[in-house]
């Protein structure tokens, strides 16, 4: 990480800065989505961009997710670099054909001739009291599809560096931002930097147990690690940062070292991201594991509205702490 001279940004600001820098650098980059121009997006992530880059490059669309994602695919094939904004991750249900049957396959089906350099930015994460259709984390679907890359940043620093790389990538990249993290602050240097896709980051070193966590779950894991420290358990926290490509080596090495692993992800627990990561680790570190890899995801229920119910659906520092202590006990 370059020296940051104490500068701190929120995750929303980091995303905006990445977009602005890439739009300045490359006039082919543009953003399209709903209420993103003057409104700057309901989460205010894009405030100010239309003023700098104009309505031609920060484009308000109709509420036509499938349609404008398709337009982005065609624009990407013919020389532009679209960044598609899907307001809530729940609405990706509407764009799967364009992402999966078109964007992900165009390069392969054309024998490598056409390319689709586009970024899909959307959100994940619950606990905003937004109920079942505005709280999902559906990134596992994208991870399953060859031809797509999938990025889940967990800090402002990572968000900026990874988004810049995603925009420069020659392939369709799905980029998931946790809604609850938009206000999270963290160091972001003034100088330009990028972060390669496919490089996990060890957010905290430890020796007794490895906690692999994605996006929103990284902060929960770090909180749990502190609690564990008080209980004299040293937890290593690793953020894969990109789920495809997946940095299997870093995950497996850590598992070999600590011999115990918890995998956390905010998607639905069943048939989710944690299953793949757990499988990779179980395969790669089989002879070093002292206990089965434990998966902690969202409950296998639609996200309820009622606050006490919703809070029960996602892992917490306390629940991770307890799971980890039980494994190390």
């Amino acid at each position: 990480m370059p020296a940051n001279n104490g500068r701190e940004l929120t995750l929303a600001q980091a995303v905006r800065e990445a977009l602005a820098e890439e739009m300045r650098r490359d006039s082919r980059v543009f953003i399209l989505g709903e209420d993103i121009a003057e409104a700057g997006h309901p989460f205010k992530v894009l405030t100010g961009l239309v003023e700098e880059f104009g309505a031609e490059r920060v484009l308000d669309t109709p509420i036509s997710e499938a349609g404008f994602t398709g337009v982005a695919v065609g624009a990407a094939m013919t020389g532009l670099r679209p960044v598609v904004d899907i307001m809530f991750g729940d609405f990706v249900t509407l764009i799967m054909d364009q992402m999966v049957n078109q964007a992900a396959k165009v390069h392969y089906m054309s024998g490598g001739k056409w390319r689709v350099p586009m970024v899909l930015r959307t959100t994940l994460g619950a606990t905003r009291r937004s109920a079942a259709q505005h709280s999902q984390s559906l990134h596992a679907w994208f991870c399953h599809i060859p031809g797509l890359k999938v990025v889940l940043p967990s800090t402002p620093y990572d968000a900026k560096g990874l988004l810049k790389t995603a925009i420069r990538d020659e392939n369709p990249v799905a980029f998931f931002e946790d809604k609850m993290m938009y206000r999270l602050k963290g160091p972001v240097p003034e100088e330009e930097y990028t972060i390669p896709l496919g490089a996990a980051d060890i957010k905290r070193e430890g020796t007794d147990i490895t906690i692999v966590a994605t996006s929103s779950m990284v902060q929960v894991a770090l909180g749990a690690a502190k609690l564990l420290e008080e209980a004299a358990i040293s937890a290593e926290v690793i953020d894969p940062r990109t789920l495809w490509p997946l940095d299997e080596k870093t995950l497996i090495n850590s598992a070999r070292k600590t011999s115990r692993v918890i995998v956390m992800d905010e998607g639905y627990g069943r048939y989710g991201v944690a299953a793949e990561i757990a499988s990779v680790i179980s395969e790669g570190a089989f002879f070093d594991l002292e206990a089965p890899v434990k998966r902690l995801g969202a409950m296998h229920v639609p996200i309820p509205f009622s606050p006490p119910l919703e809070d029960a659906t996602v892992p917490t520092e306390q629940s991770v702490f307890e799971a980890a202590r039980a494994m190390c006990g």
């Binding site: 003057e38 308000d60 109709p62 509420i63 009291r129 259709q133 296998h300 229920v301 509205f305 606050p307």
Partner: protein, 334 residues
């Protein structure tokens, strides 16, 4: 296609009681929503809510043309539709607060009020997401010959969703008793509809063979007259229709949207409130026709306010669901 309907033609059939009932309903919606805003502002309500204030005449004029077992589907801005179709304010508030006594045991919240007892197939937080459901309900009604009609409420923003046209095509082919009600309140969130809507709105329905009608959504009598006509038509097996109701929301897109200058002017808001208020328009007419005097209307208002106060009280006092509820209702019959 957009033929004007003379509401006075229907007066004899509808009767004074009906107009007063509509007045009460519209005022109920408004008072309910003002309370929602208040609860939100006082940080007593979890999440967000989308207020229907200003658009009351649409939901009420249409639902008054429906039988209790006719179906509706609603939107993220759904309180008005639910109340107009007969939902009780106390259980609505309870739902908005995430309480067990709510219509959905607190699991749905503001955007998902549903109630089989009043034919409410559910509010829906996916823009355009309920068009298929409303069409399917009409399919059942036709297939089982129940005589029911289905109404799909949606904001003009849902005109952007292609699946709307897919189901309009099927409704037209199969002559289903469904009415697609487009509530054009001029804005998709923070964007004026004209920036994202090409061509002609009603033509989008008629191109698929639907009957099309457009109406002043601030005049409950006009809305009701158009609805009666289209409902009768649908019930008689003459097929689906699209009704375009021109209206306006007074508040923000949701309760937290308070600084609206960047997308619309205070003057525009003031003008609608002053000149096109649906409750005012109806009161003026009721008084002008001597169907009611100011005192009678004040009486109704007082009754409604008392009811709403009680409803808030009920909801505030009632309890949250037990945490073990979280894993129930995922699968039916288990």
């Amino acid at each position: 296609m957009a033929t004007a309907v003379d509401p006075s033609q229907l007066d004899s059939q509808t009767g004074n009681e009906r107009w007063l009932r509509m007045y009460r309903r519209m005022f109920t919606i408004r008072t309910f929503e003002e309370q929602v805003n208040d609860l939100y502002t006082r940080a007593l309500m979890p999440g967000l809510a989308h207020l229907y204030i200003g658009e009351e005449a649409v939901a009420v004029g249409i639902c008054e043309a429906l039988a209790p077992d006719d179906y509706i589907t609603s939107t993220h801005r759904g309180h008005g539709h639910c109340l107009a179709k007969g939902a009780a304010p106390d259980r609505m508030f309870a739902e908005l607060l995430g309480k067990e006594a709510g219509y959905c045991k607190g699991k749905g919240g503001s955007m998902h009020i549903a109630d089989p007892a009043t034919g409410n197939l559910g509010a829906n937080a996916i823009v355009g997401g309920s068009a298929g459901i409303a069409t399917g309900a009409a399919f059942t009604a036709k297939r089982l010959k129940t005589g029911q009609v289905s109404v799909c409420f949606f904001g003009e923003g849902a005109l952007g969703q292609g699946s709307l046209y897919e189901v309009m095509n099927m409704a037209s082919l199969w002559k289903l008793p469904v009415i697609y009600v487009c509530e054009n309140n001029l804005y998709n969130e923070y964007t004026h509809y004209s920036e994202v809507t090409a061509g002609d709105i009603l033509a989008r329905g008629t191109a698929f063979g639907l009957a099309g009608e457009s109406v002043d959504g601030q005049d409950v009598r006009a809305v009701h007259a158009a609805a009666r006509k289209l409902v009768a038509r649908a019930r008689a097996g003459e097929g689906p229709a699209m009704l375009l109701a021109n209206t306006y929301r007074y508040y923000g897109h949701h309760v937290g949207d308070v600084s609206r200058d960047y997308y619309r002017s205070k003057q525009e808001e003031q003008q609608w409130k002053a000149e096109r208020d649906p409750i005012q328009i109806l009161s003026d007419w009721l008084c002008g026709q001597k169907i009611a005097d100011r005192a009678r209307l004040d009486e109704i208002q007082a009754e409604v306010k008392a009811q709403i106060d009680q409803a808030v009280e009920f909801a505030t006092r009632s309890r949250y669901p037990n945490v073990d509820q979280v894993e129930q209702d995922v699968y039916a019959g288990e």
